[in-house]
């Protein structure tokens, strides 16, 4: 063999290897996207299967109720979070008043509280037999329920309050970031043109921050649709609850799928609103030079008003319920600290860790695949695969159930035909099903974080590494992974914590007699045994604090012009 031939062979060998690698990324990305889309597709497909005319039955009976309740819940939570989120963000970013520096980060603390946990806590405190009403009765000498009026916590209004209290930080974070991004020049210009600070807010700051606020509220409403624990406990007939009811109590999966499809329409509206706002956001930057917003010093009465306005959401959304939770945990420590709690904690921990690691690994794989190939098809596939974050857990659960059922049946049929072995249900009703559900729902979180931080790595880095002889995989390992390590850690943490809190998917997909901390809390709290569940609830809140701390650090370090809050 001549030297030239040898070179030629070597070259061709290398070429084959490199081509197959590239195909590997593409095929992998497409495959994962298909897998992630299957549950959603299954729900839609299933809803078109005619069954016992359930549709007309649903329309006649519960559907109008589900629609109106869900809409009212969305409107309530949307307005509540809008007012609290934007209001507090405006106060801390425009004014100086006592406690402002603490409020800046403390206002996101309620994020650590799952809505269902504070729902149980407030019910315990505010219900007829609870300490508040008891105290009122003692004070005023009332004896029965008929003697006085007290708001019923287990109601639509209660659900709106609970969700508003824990979800407003989304709006707060995004609008605060938007206010910080606004150059003071525009506010100054408005003041110079004769508008006062309050007028300037409504005429300039608020309209400029509008896209960010829309994104925040859309995220809040997606979370609202996803909620299961609160509405179940309060018996508020939303879609999410309806799906659960039709499926598990009426044992009608097609009906559940039909409800889920209607819910998907709600979701689609939100997704479009969010995407539209994100696109529009770019055009709302009027100047590129940022100057720290000089804070207007508040005086006298206004100082107190601002202080109270910022303190109340923190107190009711975090300090008070967390305090009660800690208290209960102390009181019920003996009963709560048992093998069952530890077992559930271990389940939660393992399940969430596995899901976090897988979600981040898949996220890295897909984001890098999209970067390598830079093809429209791949980008679209990846976008579709991250739709799961918008889809309520109960809908995904139906889809996962159906998808895995079909896969199980397929394998079983194939094995039976070929080898005469029945494999039965391999995935359905197993931890694998729960993990799959988590991945579909939280893939967007990891993919989004990884993609955003990969985008900050200039393509010249790829070019430099590749030209120096490193292949696609080696470049990922040696250049990209070290560079994006921080956001990989953040992404794993976010997925981990969200899995810890996750309730509707877990409740529906978990194996028989399998509990996580969240399902355990749900089960005990529903039976009004909050004491026994207090330690588990406290653990969930404790883990939920982790991302809040990271965000808080970012907030205290953030400067005007930085893009904090974008990753939410």
């Amino acid at each position: 063999m001549t030297a030239a031939q040898a070179t030629g062979n070597r070259v061709i060998g290398a070429m084959k290897v490199s081509l197959s690698w590239l195909n590997g990324w593409t095929i992998g990305t497409v495959f994962i996207s298909m897998l992630a889309l299957m549950p959603i597709a299954a729900v839609i497909f299933l809803s078109f299967t005619p069954t016992d005319d359930i549709w007309s039955h649903l329309t006649e009976t519960v559907l109008p109720l589900y629609v109106s309740t869900t809409l009212m819940l969305m409107v309530g939570v949307g307005f509540g979070t809008l007012i609290i989120g934007v209001g507090t963000a405006w106060l801390v970013s425009m004014f100086r008043f006592p406690g402002k520096r603490i409020f800046e980060w403390a206002l996101i603390l309620p994020m650590a509280m799952p809505a269902y946990v504070i729902a149980y806590l407030y019910t315990d405190v505010l219900e007829y037999a609870g300490p508040v009403q008891g105290l009122l009765r003692d004070l005023f000498g009332w004896t029965t329920k008929r003697d006085y009026w007290f708001p019923e916590i287990r109601s639509l209004g209660g659900a709106i309050s609970m969700m508003t209290l824990v979800l407003y930080p989304y709006v707060y974070l995004l609008s605060r970031a938007a206010f910080m991004e606004q150059s003071i020049c525009v506010v100054d210009a408005s003041r110079a043109l004769g508008r006062g600070p309050y007028q300037s807010f409504f005429l300039v700051s608020f309209p400029l921050a509008r896209p960010a606020i829309i994104i925040g509220v859309s995220l809040v409403l997606m979370e609202t649709l996803n909620d299961f624990g609160t509405v179940d406990f309060f018996a508020v007939s939303t879609f999410t609850l309806g799906i659960y009811d039709v499926w598990l109590n009426m044992n009608n999966i097609a009906g559940a799928a039909q409800l889920a499809t209607v819910l998907l329409i709600f979701v689609m509206v939100l997704v479009f609103a969010e995407r539209y706002a994100r696109r529009k956001k770019r055009y709302y930057h009027t100047t590129t030079t940022y100057k720290a917003l000089p804070k207007y010093l508040l005086e006298g009465k206004m100082k107190a008003v601002a202080f109270v306005a910022c303190a109340l959401p923190i107190i009711f959304g975090f300090l008070f319920p967390a305090g009660i939770l800690v208290g209960y945990s102390f009181i019920h420590y003996e009963t709560a600290m048992n093998a069952e709690f530890l077992g559930n904690a271990l389940n939660s921990f393992i399940l969430s860790s596995v899901a976090a690691v897988l979600a981040v690994a898949i996220g890295v794989f897909m984001a890098y695949g999209v970067r390598l190939r830079n093809e429209r098809l791949l980008k679209i596939m990846a976008r579709l695969a991250s739709l799961g974050y918008a889809v309520p857990g109960s809908v995904l659960a139906v889809g996962v159930m159906v998808t895995l059922g079909a896969i199980d049946n397929g394998i079983d049929g194939f094995m039976l035909d070929s080898f005469g072995i029945s494999t039965g249900l391999l995935f359905s009703g197993t931890i694998a099903a729960v993990t799959f559900g988590y991945l579909v729902r939280f893939l967007a979180l990891s993919f989004g974080s990884v993609e955003a931080s990969l985008e900050k790595v200039t393509p010249h880095m790829d070019g430099a590494s590749r030209s120096l002889g490193h292949g696609a995989f080696s470049t990922l390992r040696k250049v990209h992974l070290p560079l994006i390590r921080g956001s990989i850690l953040t992404a794993s943490m976010l997925v981990f914590v969200d899995c810890m809190k996750e309730l509707p998917l877990t409740v529906i997909l978990r194996p028989f007699n399998f509990n996580t901390l969240a399902t355990f809390v749900h089960q005990y709290a529903s039976d009004e045994q909050l004491g026994e569940a207090s330690l588990a609830a406290l653990s969930i809140v404790g883990f939920g604090i982790l991302p809040v701390i990271v965000l808080s650090l970012a907030i205290t370090k953030s400067r005007p012009g930085s893009r904090l809050g974008e990753q939410v």
């Binding site: 030239a4 070179t7 030629g8 070259v11 290398a14 070429m15 490199s18 081509l19 590239l22 200039t458 010249h460 880095m461 790829d462 070019g463 430099a464 590494s465 590749r466 030209s467 120096l468 002889g469 490193h470 292949g471 696609a472 080696s474 040696k478 250049v479 070290p482 560079l483």
Partner: protein, 372 residues
């Protein structure tokens, strides 16, 4: 056959053609510069040569091996090339020595380290070997990037606007150093730039590219400057005086005298004269046209002077004169053309619209030039 060979390369993004049948040959040890406006396909050419993008039509051969055509695509890591970017693209998580050894594998780490140190020595950066990229100045980063690209002894070096991130003073120094290192290494180099001066300084040969993706002219720097074969090539180097006319007896008449041309008689023509091609004289014993000075700006080693023909009644001209020539004091100034700096091209209206076309010199440009 060593170096880089490119045959009939064409490339489009959607319906926009950025490369149109481009050919190129760079033997080992030679530096060829692609010069063109931003947005022309010159960077695409570099990406295709480096394998960062797939060839649509045409052939890329490196060191005798076809590495890219419409069917074959060899990834960059298998091409034995060096690549250097405008932003240097040093790996921020690796220190300087780790950056330089990044491409040195398949050898013992002792050997790799020795080779890296040798390269760092060539660019006088050994004392910085343990620092991280962010601790270095732009010029130092550029040197490290060069050392890193050359360390694995590539057959071909691709430079993408390698000096545009540097300030003016640093640029000249680094250019000279880079040129020295490249000549020592004997690597074939393809450099892409939009800066004509840089191309003139660095290149053995220049290929001027138009915004239509075609090569307008190829040649040694001297040829490009003194014998532009295309209007746009002539205009690359900045301000030009333009006169329109009709060819008669193989010459075009201008207010400054006539210029010889190969164009056919009766054809519409334009005469482009570089500012240094207008000779300004005091008491020019009636040979040129009388002019009046409207402004004069000292640029350093020379002046840029604006004059009006016909005693201040006619067209304005731009003249570059040595700084010792104090125009303000002179009376009866006359101007004439130095034929070496005057070029005749057919007059075509549509060419005016291409991106390469520099607008006629205006007030702002003169003051900008004066400010430099």
């Amino acid at each position: 056959m060593g170096g880089l060979h490119i045959f009939g390369l064409s490339h489009s993004y959607g319906s926009h053609k950025v490369l149109d049948n481009v050919g190129l040959m760079i033997p080992a040890g030679e530096l060829v510069c692609m010069l063109g406006p931003s947005g022309c396909g010159k960077s695409t050419l570099l990406r295709l040569a480096g394998g960062l993008e797939k060839v649509q039509d045409g052939t890329v051969v490196i060191n005798g091996v076809t590495v890219g055509d419409s069917k074959i695509h060899l990834n960059p890591e298998h091409r034995h090339i060096g690549l250097m970017f405008q932003d240097y693209a040093l790996f921020p998580h690796l220190n300087i020595i780790e950056n330089v050894t990044f491409g040195l594998f398949g050898m013992t780490s002792v050997k790799a380290h020795a080779r890296a140190m040798q390269m760092l020595d060539q660019v006088s950066m050994t004392s910085h070997k343990d620092k991280y990229p962010h601790m270095l100045s732009g010029g130092q980063q550029q040197r490290v990037a060069l050392a890193r690209a050359l360390a694995p002894e590539p057959k071909l070096l691709l430079l993408d606007e390698p000096f545009s991130g540097l300030d003016t003073n640093m640029r000249q120094k680094i250019r000279e150093e880079t040129l020295n290192v490249l000549k020592q290494s004997g690597v074939a180099t393809l450099m892409v730039t939009h800066d004509p001066e840089e191309a003139m300084f660095m290149a053995d040969r220049i290929k001027v590219m138009g915004s239509n993706g075609r090569i307008l002219q190829a040649g040694r720097p001297h040829e490009i400057y003194y014998h532009p074969r295309h209007e746009l090539v002539a205009k690359l180097f900045g301000m030009m005086n333009m006169f329109k006319g009709v060819v008669a007896d193989g010459r075009v008449e201008t207010p400054l005298g006539s210029v010889a041309t190969d164009l056919d008689d009766g054809e519409q023509a334009q005469v482009l004269v570089r500012p240094e091609g207008v000779i300004i004289e005091a008491n020019g014993n009636g040979r040129g046209s009388l002019v009046e000075v409207t402004s004069s700006h000292l640029l350093g080693h020379d002046n840029i002077v604006r004059v009006r023909l016909n005693k201040g009644e006619g067209d304005e001209l731009y003249v570059r004169v040595h700084h010792t020539f104090e125009v303000e004091l002179k009376k009866n100034l006359t101007v004439r053309i130095d034929p070496e700096y005057a070029f005749v091209f057919p007059f075509e209206e549509e060419l005016k619209l291409t991106k390469m076309d520099k607008p006629e010199l205006n007030e702002a440009q003169v003051s900008a030039a004066a400010a430099e």
